[in-house]
Each structure stands twice: as C-alpha cells, then as structure tokens.
C-alpha cells in the first residue's frame, strides 16, 4: 500500500492513522469495559500499527512519476484478498450453524457459540464481508477500465477498504460478544453504523470523481448499476439505523422508529439490501465481466438501460411483502406484492440479456469454467427472481413465510447468483491483476465449479422440501378442527433436509476454499511490483 503513495499522501495517511488511534482511545476509555471498549481497543491497535507503518516510510522515495498513466490496482488486490478471507469465514460459520441445526446438542457451553450469535456472523460475514468487499474491489476495477481513467486519488480507496473492513470486523465481533441492534442485516452497533456512513460517502465521492475524469464519452451501463448500489445503500443504511444511543459510552441504542413503522422501515431496508447490495451492484459486475470474458458485447445495450430504470423504480416499493398478514395496513402489503410481481419484467430482461449475449458462444461456455460460473449466475438470477416474485404473492406467502423455503430462496440468490458471479469475476480479475495468463491451477476452477453447482442444488432443493413440508404441516387440520401436527413434529420432520443442506453448504465451502488457495498460488507466482496487463489508460480527457 504505502509504496504506491506519494510523500504528501503518506502524510495524509499518517494523519488519518493518528485520528483512528485517537477515536479508538476515546471509545475504549469512555466505555471502560464491554463491547465498545473492545472495539475501541481494536481501532487503537489498528491505528498504532498504521502509524508505525507510515512513519517508518514517510521519507521513502516518491513512487514513479508515470504512475498517473497506470490504473491504480493496489486497493483492488487488497479487496480481492479480503473477499476471499471473508468468503471462507462467512461460509465456514454458515456450515457450522447449519450443522448445529442438525446436531443442536453439539453447541459448546459458551455464550458466543450459540446459534443466535453465530447466525448474524454468517449473514454479515457473507453480505458485508464477502459480497461487499467483492463489490468495492470490482467497482474500482470496472470504473477505471470502462472510463479509461485512474482512480481520482490514492488515499480514499485505502480509507474505504480499511474503514469498511473495520466496520465488518466490529460488526461480527460485536455479535459474538452479544451486542446487537436486533435489526436483520443491520445488527451492528450505532458507532459502527456511523463509521460505515463516513466510509460510504467517501466511496460515493471517489466514484463520482473518477467518473468525472473519464475518457470515454458514454458512462458504460455497469457503472450505472454500481452507482445505484452505492447511492441507495447509503440512503437505506442511514434511514434504517437512525438510533439514539443509551449513552455515548455504551454500544446499546434504541431505534427512533417504533411499532409497525419500525417493521416497515426495517423491511424497506431489508429487501432493498437484497435489491441494491445483492442485485444492482452484481448486475454491474455481470454487465462488465460477462461481455469481457466471452468477448462479445452485451446482446442488447438498450434493454440493459430500460431494465436498469425498471429495477430502480420497482425494487424500492417491494419491502412490505415481508410483512404480509401483519399489523401493516392491507393496502401497503398489496402494494409491495404488486411491485414484486412487476419486478419480474426488468429482472428477466437482465437475465435474458445475459444469456442471449452468450448465444453463439456456447463452445466458450463449455470450455471455460470461469464463463460457466457467469452463465450459471445469470440462470440462478432468473430462477431466484421468479421465485421471489412468486413468494411475494400473499396466498403463496401464507404457505412459505416463517418456513425454510424463505431460507432456500435467499440461498438460491446468494449461492447461485451472487457468489457465482463473484467467483467468475475473481477468476477473470486475479490473473489479469497479477500479470499471469491464467490461474495457477486451471483445473481447480473446474472442480470449484462443480462443487459450487452441486452444493447449491443440494442446498436449495432440500430447503424447498423442508419449507413446503413445514408450511403444510402447520396448516393441516384433523377431522375435529384441531391442528394435525404439533410444532415439535414439524421440527423433527426437518432432520433429513437439515443434514442435506449442511452437506450442500459444505460442498460450496470446499469450492470456496479451493478458490482461495488457487488465488494464493497465482499471487505467489506473480513477479513483484507487477502491473495489470490490459487496455491502456488515456491520460488526456476526451473533450
């Protein structure tokens, strides 16, 4: 990191490190003990480590003057490594909690090992750690290549990467210590939320400044999707996390929203986290890496634009489908349901556009496992958006809600769509960023592909069975009008499905571990001080 910074930038970095250490010190000292003190100490230690790193090299020679003629890839390399680390952590915790559902008696007698604390570690580790790092890293790559411009400055990408990962570490360690806001996918404490706001605004500003320096007349559509992701996630995160701390020396806080309004805000956030974190950004990834990998332009650029506005306009309304049959007014539920069904049109337009792009290049899909990851991602995107629209219909939801069908649906999206497109992007990016013609172990990509596909299918199919079985058992009445099954009987009926989902998850995890080692081997084979091999940057803006 530091060798790529100029002397002035190192001084700014040193200043920011001092600030981080001070914030950590104040947090730790004012809290005294408990979660916030531990988190303050983490920030203090990180700040001090960075102070040492910067102060030891502040007077080192300047980086080569021609660096402005190259893309700035060092933060991307860091982001890819963090993506892989979080993938292994998040998926391993996921497999572990899946196994706990099958062997609950295996829970060790320590509070931090309970299902309730580990489950948000899995969801946050995957959504923020794995998917978030992948999104930030690939967005830096895509915005530079598609704009033919270097990132607007060298300090803020590092501020974003380090700040974002500090947020993620604060979040998951907080859950292990029993700290939570009790909002799904927004469990992190109030001070971690503030850190994420600062990081996210910096991210947005950097992205806009880089686009403003572009040397292409048109902003390529992938950037639109990434911009929607950055802008809307900022909006969702801020509104859903408005909370009053119990005191400034405590991690506890109360949300300002109450009752059904809080539920609506939470699920407006929750479903749009799916929409703009787990969909819009990844469509940006798809619209860049699929054409590049297949060597074919997107089938219809125009449909990609119409689908963009369709997704942006429809998704924002669908959150209330999480609150069918609740105290939420009936018409609000109907509104969410209607928009969920309409959303199928732009979703399938994108999925179809991706598959039509590959039409005529099927031999490449057959031979290239990396492209196959992207193809499967597009197929699962189409499948899970269809399933989502279907589950949002009120009578269908009465069968599926509170069952494992929902969990299966989420995993068809996250394993089949999000993770597949990330792996496709990683296998495209890593050789390119490290000046290799291909990954160190090309055959391991094939192995990873089949592990991932079979793991996803086993997982999703077993939870379809589990969810529909649960839903039917809960609504079966005997001849005298009483429920035919007790709740416990429906839990016992889950055993075979929970075992299968653990196996499916383990297969998927095995593939991810293989990917991490494959990337490690590729990185180790790279010469030092390497530059990416690809299209040149235009130093002069095209007026």
């Amino acid at each position: 990191m530091i060798a790529t910074l100029s002397v002035v930038e190192r001084q700014v970095g040193l200043l920011l490190s001092v600030l981080l250490a001070l914030v950590g010190l104040v947090m730790a000292a004012s809290a005294g003990y408990g979660v916030m003190a531990v988190h303050g100490s983490m920030a203090l230690v990180l700040g001090i480590a960075l102070i040492f790193a910067f102060s030891g090299s502040v007077s080192d020679p300047e980086p080569p003057a021609d660096r402005i003629y190259h893309y700035y890839d060092a933060p991307i390399r860091f982001g890819i490594v963090m993506t892989l680390i979080w993938a292994v952590i998040g998926m391993a915790v996921g497999v572990w909690v899946a196994a706990l559902l099958y062997w609950p008696e295996a829970t060790p007698a320590a509070p931090w090992t309970t299902f309730g604390r580990l489950r948000p570690v899995h969801t946050t580790g995957i959504i923020f750690g794995f998917a978030g790092n992948a999104l930030i890293a690939t967005s830096f790559y895509v915005v530079q290549r598609s704009s033919r411009a270097r990132l607007a400055d060298a300090v803020s990408p590092w501020f974003i990467m380090i700040g974002y990962n500090l947020f993620s570490v604060w979040a998951v360690t907080g859950y292990l210590m029993g700290s939570t806001q009790s909002k799904e996918y927004a469990e992190a404490s109030w001070y971690a939320d503030i850190l994420l706001v600062v990081v996210w605004v910096t991210y947005f500003v950097l992205y806009m400044r880089t686009l403003a320096r572009r040397n292409e007349p048109h902003i390529y559509v992938a950037n639109w999707y990434y911009m929607a992701f950055i802008l809307v996630v900022a909006m969702l995160h801020i509104v859903n996390n408005i909370a009053l701390p119990v005191s400034f020396s405590s991690d506890q806080s109360f949300p300002v929203w109450g009752g059904v309004q809080d539920a609506m805000v939470q699920w407006w956030y929750g479903h749009n986290a799916v929409a703009f974190f787990l969909t819009a950004g990844f469509l940006g990834m798809l619209y860049y890496f699929l054409p590049v990998r297949s060597g074919r332009p997107i089938w219809s650029y125009r449909i990609s634009i119409v689908a963009f506005w369709g997704i942006v306009f429809f998704y924002i309304w669908v959150g209330s489908h999480h609150l069918h049959y609740t105290a939420l007014p009936y018409w609000v539920q109907t509104l969410g349901m209607t928009f969920s069904v309409m959303l199928l049109v732009p979703s399938w337009a994108s999925a179809g556009n991706a598959i039509a792009t590959l039409n005529g290049a099927w031999h490449k899909v057959r031979d290239d496992a990396t492209l196959r990851f992207m193809f499967v991602a597009a197929v699962f995107y189409g499948l899970s958006t269809f399933e989502g629209s279907f589950l949002a219909i009120r009578p269908v939801n009465s069968l599926s809600h509170y069952t494992d069908w929902t969990v299966g649906h989420v995993h068809s999206g996250t394993l089949g769509w999000v993770a597949m497109i990330i792996f496709g992007a990683i296998y495209t990016l890593v050789p390119n960023l490290y000046d290799r013609s291909q990954m160190a172990w090309p055959r391991a990509i094939d192995w990873h592909f089949w592990l991932a596909v079979s793991g996803t299918l086993i997982y999703v199919v077993s939870l379809w069975n589990a969810g529909i079985t649960q839903g039917l058992m809960w609504r079966t009445y005997g001849s005298n009008g009483s429920l035919a099954y007790s709740f416990l009987q429906s839990v016992e009926a889950m055993a075979p499905y929970y075992l299968l989902r653990t196996i499916g998850g383990a297969l998927f995890l095995a593939g991810a571990v293989l990917c991490a080692f494959n990337c490690l081997a590729t990185i180790r084979a790279a010469p030092r001080g390497v530059e990416a091999i690809d299209r040149p940057l235009s130093p002069q803006p095209a007026e």
Binding site: R145, H218, Y220, P297, I305, W309, W331
Partner: protein
C-alpha cells in the same frame, strides 16, 4: 395523510409519474438516432480486436 388521499395521488400523479418515466426511458433508449452510440458503448469495454468484429 389519509388512505383516500394517498389513493387519489397514486391514481393521478403516480400513474403519470411511473408511466411517463417509463415512456421517456423507452424513447431515450430505443430512438434510432442513438443506435450507433449504444453499439459503440457496448463494445467500448472489449479489447480492440473484439470491438471490430460483428455481434
């Protein structure tokens, strides 16, 4: 704001807002004069060799 007010807004302004925006986007995306620009944009991310080939 009452439910009736909201319904009235949705059925008047909301309709024109959503349909109007949709029609504007479709016109902007599909008008024939933009064909060359979008074709160029779609190929702009590919290496030079692939850009010269047909779809």
């Amino acid at each position: 704001m009452s439910h009736d007010t909201l319904v009235a807004i949705a059925k008047t302004f909301g309709l024109f807002w959503m349909m109007g925006f949709f029609i504007v986007v479709v016109i902007l995306a599909f008008r024939p004069s933009r064909r060359a620009a979008y074709d160029h944009a779609a190929r702009s991310i590919l290496p030079q060799a692939d850009q010269d080939k047909g779809p």
